[in-house]
Symmetry: C2
Subunit: 296 residues, 2 copies
Amino acid sequence: MTDGFDFKAYLNQARQRVEAALDGSLAPERPESLREAMRYSLLAGGKRLRPILCLAACELAGGDAEHAMPTAVALEMIHTMSLIHDDLPAMDDDDLRRGRPTNHKVYGEAVAILAGDALLTRAFEMVALRSPGVPPERLLKVVGELSLVAGAPGLVGGQVVDLESEGKEVDFDTLEYIHLHKTGALLSACVITGATIGGADPALISALRVYARGIGLAFQIIDDILDITASSEVLGKTAGKDLVADKTTYPKLLGLEESRRRADALVGEAKDVLKPWEQRAMPLLALADFITSRDR
Amino acid sequence: MTDGFDFKAYLNQARQRVEAALDGSLAPERPESLREAMRYSLLAGGKRLRPILCLAACELAGGDAEHAMPTAVALEMIHTMSLIHDDLPAMDDDDLRRGRPTNHKVYGEAVAILAGDALLTRAFEMVALRSPGVPPERLLKVVGELSLVAGAPGLVGGQVVDLESEGKEVDFDTLEYIHLHKTGALLSACVITGATIGGADPALISALRVYARGIGLAFQIIDDILDITASSEVLGKTAGKDLVADKTTYPKLLGLEESRRRADALVGEAKDVLKPWEQRAMPLLALADFITSRDR
């Protein structure tokens, strides 16, 4: 299905464009300490899967990926702010992220909290004030989608339930609630906002919601598996932390084998739903495999 | 100039409408603990001056105040989130706010941080998804204005400089920078967003920026004065705290008398600029006096 499509080159090129856009997005921030703290986490590397999903969905919908770039940057800002706040001592109390000290370890708790707040609002600024060439109706829909995914109905709600579940026996529904809100909702927003900017019809939007739900849950299952099987060095964060904190995970609930089977099934469903779009869906099909691969 | 205008009745009625809108704005939030923390601070009383400024500016521009109500609620949400985060132990470490324990004292730091994040994103949701009857172009401008005021160019930037200034000798420019960003920017956003929804022309927008800058600085000067002259009981927060923390304030830099003179001059200028709008500007003229009165 992906014959003739050079995914590696596609990914490489998309990443470079995203990195350049991220780098250019924070120039006027003041004061200096705040700007540094924002840049430290936003430009900390990573695979930039969320922005790339957004650009790919825009193109699948027939749009120009450049029009979706400010929104792609906004999505990475929201992702980054949620990592900064989740890592805080009052929350998950993490010292390492992507192989480097976490934001609050470098800049202190106060600036870390504020850098997160500033990235969150900056995300909305990117869409509302820095997205030339996109009709206001579409941008307003994007703002709405981002507001839901970043707040109580998304990342924040998931994090609260996650914190409340620590050290407790948690059932399967609660586990899925946490992951759909903490991971799935944002991945979904990536493709929905990209497709919206590209002018997608309702059929494509519906298909992309199914696609995103599948890869979102699969992504989290793989994450849980990696937390058990990989070492701290490979992950660049404190491995085995979920087990230490007695967090509920898929492997803990279902076992490693069944977790892997479930992830594969979810990726399969996600890809099937995009079949009607054939060749144009190739980047998103390849991304589904990549995002949920064992060595991503 | 305010003959025949019953400001007390106007304020009372506006407050009741704002309270009802605030109360109705958070119903579907989940989980329960997050919803409670959000409601605790958002519905903690207060004079609701920011939402009322927004509604008044919308009407001055010739618009229907009901159209501006979701934005008025959004402004109070942004104000509330900044108070919750500023009160945190890592920031100003305040135990009391409006005569009650601060958010983190009741719900813990983690939920307080997340309740702030959720209120901030909910503000954008109010504008983007819950503002029926307003053209998307205007709503997108409102989103842009809110994104600037809540982030690094506004509240967050002001708070960072404020924290960095503690225990230091701070010059007048830095003091004004802090207050223009922490207080003035949001008051300005109140009237600008309200006027934008009401369809204001550029002349009115310009005048309102001058108006807001004047009352914003005057408001802060009065706040500094009250911090010295009033008791904890009257303020409902820890009085004299600025002096204890060795914060730079207007009275400290200029003396009490000169601070009062400066506040009066600023209010005078703010009112002058709205004179061309005559009777229709009455609510905003009365609000300028009220906001900067000694016993507000």
